[in-house]
């Protein structure tokens, strides 16, 4: 599996999910922020997919089984807390991963050095909202805890080694757990104690095994492009 494809698909799919929020956010500032993050991720996706081939062919003409993104990023938006929990888990992972890649001097060093600046902003945004929701009202606390619990099982997959990436995966996992634990505790939330690797989710997305909502997401994303074979836009 191409490492660029795995990282590119992560960014592409999460960007799409965030794009679904446009015009639906709880405050205008969040319409701006979520679109901003979605755009950063789409930019990363385009750079990464272009390393592999034609970005549009890869995005619009592959079927579900050929996508290599994590199952975490394809999870439906749910309520705002679910979206924030997904952002917290993923942006923390991405920041540590890109940090290592930028320092490593390998194939992805340049790209990672640029992306890590964007990702630092994404992580900050997710952390701030985790604090507000976790330590806000009773209702927001309950919703944020539920979201963190529900998505926890998809987190183990992030630390399955990806071939072609020169990364210390164990250090990545430890760093991630430490960072996320600190934020959840500050937010008065409980770190879930259930397994981070469900039998199905561990490493599955990277092998093209996805969850049910993903197929429907792709159907929507690809239908227009597929309806006009060979057309340019």
């Amino acid at each position: 599996m191409s490492a660029a494809l795995a990282l590119g698909d992560d960014a592409l799919v999460l960007s799409h999910r965030l794009g679904e929020w446009a015009g639906h956010a709880p405050v205008l500032e969040e319409d701006v922020a979520l679109a901003n993050i979605a755009l950063d991720l789409l930019g990363q996706a385009r750079t990464l997919l272009s390393l592999v081939g034609d970005e549009d062919e890869l995005a619009y003409l592959r079927e579900e089984r050929a996508f290599r993104n994590l199952q975490l990023v394809e999870q439906p938006n749910g309520d705002f807390a679910h979206t924030i929990a997904r952002q917290l888990y993923f942006s923390t992972f991405q920041r540590l991963l890109f940090g290592q890649l930028a320092a490593g001097g390998g194939e992805f060093a340049g790209l990672a050095a640029k992306a890590v600046k964007e990702v630092a902003y994404h992580q900050d945004h997710a952390e701030q909202w985790t604090l507000r929701l976790g330590d806000g009202t009773e209702e927001s606390h309950r919703r944020m805890q539920r979201a963190c619990d529900a998505l926890w099982r998809f987190t183990g997959e992030m630390f399955q080694p990806v071939e072609g990436l020169d990364v210390d995966w164990e250090a990545l996992r430890e760093g991630w757990l430490e960072s996320v634990t600190a934020v959840l505790e500050r937010a008065t939330l409980t770190v879930p104690d259930t397994a981070t690797t469900g039998a199905w989710s561990a490493g599955a997305g990277r092998q093209g095994l996805h969850t049910e909502p993903f197929g429907r997401m792709l159907a929507e994303m690809q239908h227009l492009h597929r309806s006009h074979p060979g057309a340019s836009w």
Binding site: G23, H24, V32, A35, L133, G136, M221
Partner: protein, 330 residues
């Protein structure tokens, strides 16, 4: 009686100063005295403008998840993000007149303030995204560029920033349509169909004809508005005709032709019945647009409450810490 007379004299002096400032093309600023009607007229127009940016996100956001290429998807996302930003500028500018965003949103949600009637039309194909960029943003720019010289400073300054971004969107919309027009026959048809559906509603964006426009004369006297609805509409038609030719698309008006004598294009009659119907809430998407806006607001209530509760907690924590520090130092 003396008090009343003194107040009256002060008002007359204020009014004279205001009139002189407007006549001299000076800017009125938030702390300046202004006639009550000037203030309420601006609140109405600016709020409606802000609401239009917010509701206007919907017809375009409708296509974000289906954009046919990653480049187009990025452009569209950036555009919808800009619109949310424009809404924020405009709400802030309106707040300088002594109202609040909450109050304005409440008026939008309860139907007491309006938004541009154009956003009550549906986006049925991808080409509609291009038609909105070219025609709807084009009409908006024609309307808004003169507002950069509006007599109210905060509004004029917001418009300078907004117009820059809008022109960029308009060029991108035009370029989208051009790609379709020069693409496959199916793409060309899609572009023509979109222009056919958006042309007349775009002309309606300039508002009712001059002799039926309730606020026009006063707005022009106050230099909020610089040109009449019909003048701007004519300007827009004259700009669009050669652009349509360059696009290889036609405008759906059999009466459209160059008038040598006037030096302008003549064009057919607008269906004002449709305009008033849409404005009164009975257009194709009025119900859908406002329902989605209300739903986003209602479903987001717990998030805003959480943010407020957290802010209150952290500021009181900070106050306690500050107090402790003061005591410790003492």
């Amino acid at each position: 009686m003396t008090a009343v007379t003194a107040e009256h004299t002060a008002d007359t002096t204020h009014q004279a100063r205001f009139d002189a400032a407007v006549a001299a093309d000076e800017r009125i600023e938030p702390r300046d005295w202004m006639p009550d009607e000037y203030r309420s007229s601006l609140v109405r127009q600016m709020a409606q403008h802000a609401h239009s940016e917010i509701i206007g996100m919907q017809p375009e956001a409708n296509w974000i998840t289906r954009a046919p290429s990653l480049r187009r998807k990025a452009i569209l996302m950036a555009k919808v993000q800009d619109e949310a930003g424009h809404g924020l500028y405009l709400y802030s500018a309106t707040e300088t007149l002594g109202t609040s965003r909450e109050e304005l949103l409440d008026k939008l949600h309860s139907g007491r303030q309006k938004y541009s009637s154009i956003f009550n039309y549906p986006t049925l194909t991808w080409a509609d995204v291009g038609a909105i960029g070219w025609l709807v943003d084009g009409a908006a720019i024609t309307n808004q560029v003169p507002l950069c010289r509006c007599s109210y400073g905060p509004y004029a300054r917001a418009m300078v920033r907004i117009c820059k971004e809008e022109s960029f969107h308009q060029r991108q919309g035009y370029e989208l349509l051009l790609a379709l027009s020069q693409g496959t026959p199916a793409q060309h048809d899609m572009a023509q169909d979109a222009v056919n559906r958006w042309w007349w509603p775009s002309l309606m964006m300039f508002g009712p004809p001059d002799d039926e426009s309730a606020h026009s004369a006063q707005s022009m006297a106050w230099k909020i508005k610089r040109h009449s609805n019909d003048e701007l509409r004519q300007r827009f038609v004259d700009i669009c005709v050669p652009q349509a030719e360059a696009l290889g698309l036609t405008l759906p008006d059999p009466d459209l032709r160059w008038n040598e004598e006037r030096g302008h294009h003549d064009f057919g009659a607008i269906d004002w019945d449709e305009f008033w119907q849409v404005l009164k809430g009975d257009g194709p998407c009025n119900e859908q647009r406002i329902t989605q806006r209300r739903r986003a607001h209602e479903e987001g209530a717990w998030v805003r409450e959480a943010a407020a509760a957290y802010a209150a907690k952290t500021s009181s924590d900070k106050a306690e810490r500050d107090e402790a520090q003061v005591e410790a130092t003492a």
